[in-house]
Assembly symmetry: C2
Homo-oligomer: 582 residues x 2
């Protein structure tokens, strides 16, 4: 196939788009791959659509290879199934909702768990029918609060979503593993540098869950990795290693101190170190009790929750929310303090919490036998040497303290460093949330119903175009991996005399006959303009047909390395066909 730039619907831009925050956005617009139509809405121009389709093909091949069967649902869906699972409400303003001419409620599908579950229920009935993996590659909609970075976070985007349906947890684990392996193959084939991180599940409910993140400083997702092992995890999923318990015997008794003017941990530590207590305190010796309120799903009332963390750490609200999911969490308002006068702001201690029945969860570092400086439930007073398991007993532990670079890796090897990535895939042992909602059962061999268990697996197909571009570009433009490039060879005709133009045409034809996809720059523009566009567009191999032709050679340039080689015209077709794997 020959694509002629003289007629291609492509105009490259010299200037960066004003709204471009990240390199992929800047370059995909400048190189004429996408155009903005609305906030979070982009059109795909010819070269962009080719890259998107190439990615779709890789995804489809690997999904088919694990026995996935492709189907396609509407994007415009009735409210009822989403009402039944609570997602009509739970999605909040992220869901595009609309009414039809008869006033019936509809939504634009963000993901299709409901439809897949209902469809399997409709077709299958016997245990012999299972397992099954179904998938679609489809346009999805989410009314993002802040669509950003071009197609990296759009409101209309292409996603591959697949779902596994198994008879039991072992089957689910096998389907999950097959997806994990398929995802590894997909992202490897796409030339991505990525990590697989342990993840929490987001708003979907369920258990085992991993995210695939393309490593990118511009990514929205923060994760941590070990300096020494392969450990990587979402910050929300980091498990704090608990220190060993300590003997209670021999610990000094708890003592209340008058600690005026100590509104912060810092001032408190300074005060303690100046109080002549015979030892040095750090913020890590203090226990900070943060009060929030929590509302369980389907409950009307909020309940108080106290979260105790070492004073050298903040509570990370995202980690706290993830730990309490699916419950809602909110900070206390002034009215809450008024209604609970035992909460002495700045001086809350375990004593008043226990006395008033407030649930108290602590950081895993607060183990039996450790001694803490904490609030004495009285203004300007703290208690020193309050020992866990002797003077107070928390109701349990919670992962709510911030994770910091330098923290020990949960696998015991190395310390954690922070990194950023772009979420490109998510695999998730969803369990029975949706099959319970719709009573998706198989009739077992003993004629008893078996409740089906589901896995849910997503890949952000259109986002991958941007994720790949984030990792594969330089200061001159895009540098596509061969598997997704919009052409195999960018053939620049550098000269206007007949020898050169005819030589270019001939080579393009011969390459095309060998199955090599050629982007032929047959425009009347100057060689300089053509070279610059070739660098910008980012086809991995650039062939220049120019003055060398009189010597019988053409130049082959590797877009990534910049390396140039002169090749005899006679050998060019074989050389390029082999280079491009055609």
């Amino acid at each position: 196939m020959i694509t002629r730039m003289s007629s291609l619907f492509l105009r490259t831009l010299r200037e960066d788009p004003v709204d471009a925050e990240v390199p992929s956005h800047r370059l995909l617009v400048r190189a004429g791959y996408v155009r903005r139509v609305a906030p979070g809405g982009y059109s795909w121009l010819p070269l962009g659509l080719r890259v998107l389709r190439n990615i779709e093909t890789v995804v489809r091949e690997e999904m088919d290879a694990i026995g996935g069967q492709e189907i396609q649902f509407p994007a415009l869906l009735p409210r009822e199934p989403y009402e039944a699972t609570g997602r009509w409400e739970a999605y909040g303003p992220n869901l595009f909702r609309l009414k039809d001419r008869k006033g019936a409620d509809y939504l634009l599908g963000p993901t299709h768990e409901e439809l897949f579950a209902l469809t399997v229920k409709g077709e299958y009935s016997s245990y012999k029918d299972y397992p099954v993996i179904l998938y679609q590659i489809q346009t999805k909609y989410r009314d993002e609060a802040r669509p950003r970075a071009g197609i990296l976070r759009g409101r209309e985007f292409v996603m591959k979503d697949s779902y596994s349906f198994d008879l039991d947890d072992d089957g689910l684990a096998r389907s999950y593993r097959r997806h994990r392996d398929a995802y590894v193959r997909i992202f490897d084939r796409l030339g991505l540098d990525y990590v697989v991180v342990a993840a929490t599940s987001g708003a979907m409910g369920g258990s085992a869950s991993e995210e695939f993140l393309a490593v990118a400083g511009t990514g929205e997702d923060t994760y941590v990795r070990s300096t020494e092992s392969g450990f990587a995890a979402n910050v929300e999923a980091v498990v704090t290693p608990a220190p060993p318990e300590q003997p209670i015997e021999g610990k000094p008794e708890a003592q209340v101190h008058h600690t005026p003017n100590t509104p912060t941990i810092e001032t408190l530590v300074d005060f303690l170190n100046g109080a002549g207590l015979g030892r040095t305190f750090t913020a890590a010796d203090t226990l900070k009790n943060v009060l929030v309120k929590v509302r369980e799903p389907d409950e009307k009332d909020w309940r108080l929750l106290a979260v105790g963390v070492p004073g050298d750490r903040e509570v990370d609200m995202k980690r706290l929310e993830a730990a309490l999911e699916p419950a809602e969490v909110a900070l206390l308002e002034e009215a809450d303090f008024t209604a609970n006068p035992f909460l002495v702001k700045g001086y809350i201690g375990p004593g008043a919490l226990a006395a008033n029945g407030v649930r108290y969860l602590v950081d895993p570092r607060i183990v039996r036998g450790t001694a803490w400086v904490t609030g004495a439930d009285k203004a300007d007073h703290h208690v020193v040497d309050l020992v866990c398991g002797r003077d107070f007993t928390p109701d349990g532990t919670i992962e709510a303290a911030e994770v910091r670079e330098g923290d020990a890796s949960p696998d015991g090897r190395g310390t954690l460093v922070a990194a950023r990535g772009i979420e490109i895939g998510h695999i998730f042992q969803l369990g029975r949330k949706y099959t319970d909602a719709f009573e998706v059962d198989a009739l077992g061999p003993d004629s008893k119903p078996i409740r089906i268990t589901m896995g849910s697996y997503g890949i952000g197909v259109s986002r991958l175009v941007a994720a790949i571009a984030e990792q594969h570009h330089d200061e001159l433009g895009l540098v596509w991996p061969r598997a997704v490039a919009p052409a195999d060879v960018h053939l620049v005709v550098a000269g206007k005399d007949d020898t050169v133009t005819e030589g270019g045409e001939r080579l393009a034809t011969q390459l095309s006959e060998r199955g090599v996809q050629v982007l032929l720059d047959d425009r009347k523009a100057s060689p300089g303009v053509k070279f610059a566009d070739a660098e910008l567009v980012g086809v991995p191999t650039i062939v220049v047909v120019g003055r060398g032709l009189t010597k019988g050679v053409v130049e082959v340039k590797d877009r990534l390395s910049g390396e140039r080689t002169e090749i005899a015209v006679d050998e060019a077709v074989d050389h390029l066909a082999s280079l491009t794997g055609r």
Copy 2:
């Protein structure tokens, strides 16, 4: 490729779906190609999606062959461009409208003229850039009042829409012709029996326009065709041949008659024939004047319009509306008659119309010199021998009278008969409506702007699945043309002993290695169930591997003709590969 029915997500149904009105709907559901999700919303199961994709491929190949360049727009679009062209309003309740989280207005795209025009304006500037043809194959949305017949008229559907952009009318005519030729190739390749009919343009505004209709008694579109020539047209587009003018000299004078109790044309004719006027009258001798009101776009007020048709014909409101487009047409209300007392209901004649400045358009049969019986603008009175061009002068002609079987064909050859079809394509010289709205100009060689002219060309891709099924089925099930079939060969393993199952597996593998797509029925079901499913599913070639294997033969059945042939196992692969063109 081998698709195993033992694991295929397919359950055929023995019963017709209760809501199925037409064979395609009934069979596509029974054979497990589609499932209903919502009114006018269907999911594509694996076999259905394959047929849809096969059709897309044919459409894409032929669009690429005429130089079309594929792009893709969002389906979720901002209001503004559609506001600018008036379509936000004009589409009425057929448009799905919604608001985003910020309250901004959006719509789900029914067609994308606005976006294509704006995109070309954004990329192109010089006359040298033109012409260009762009297309997309995309999901579209229309809130149909009565979604029906499964995927034949859905509210979410797949359409190929393309647009040509030319510098002048000759260029547009060339682009139109290329599309027309491409459409003929597409529908021929898809094995469709279709007609190309002259069409009016619908709500789009513009000039030359043809529709491609798949011939089907279940179709929603009525058209007429000549009994003797290839003429075919939408009823709205039928042009009435005008009879020759007649000399006015020698015509009797017009005479007003008292015609009591003649509220209908029939009673009037009876009265006249009993009045001793010395000749016989028929309804075709009377002139019926129908009053409507018309409002031009961008005007606030309605204006009266009188339409005169021969009394033996009704006014066809669809033809009248098409003739007056883009103006609105409405019937008169009681208040209109009260406000215009010169309109004597049942007795309206040309006299009062002319005297009161009412615009008067007549059927083309009412030519100069013809004499008519018509209303005398006075209750219970008619005038006889009112001669056109002598006693009244219409303001022009209009195509508003009903078209009837037996009418002369406009091309002068044969008479018209009515037929029904399914609209599968529409090509349309759109002109400058959208380029005017957005000022899409090219800078000409003389540095003066040239307003671009557009063509608009649609194919109902998902509807084609149903249209093909309407034409290709029998009482046992679907009978797909080879170009769109979900597999090349349906291989039925008819028997459970190892020789048969291994023979079936071996043949399937050999065929797959030759590039033949095999749907392998390796289920444990009985041969009878498998045969019935094979007929229902409709793959064009059915191969039965059964007892014949002991004699070294398999049976090859042609699904369309029912013809069965025994083929030596050794020759089966070559035979089937050649039969299926692989």
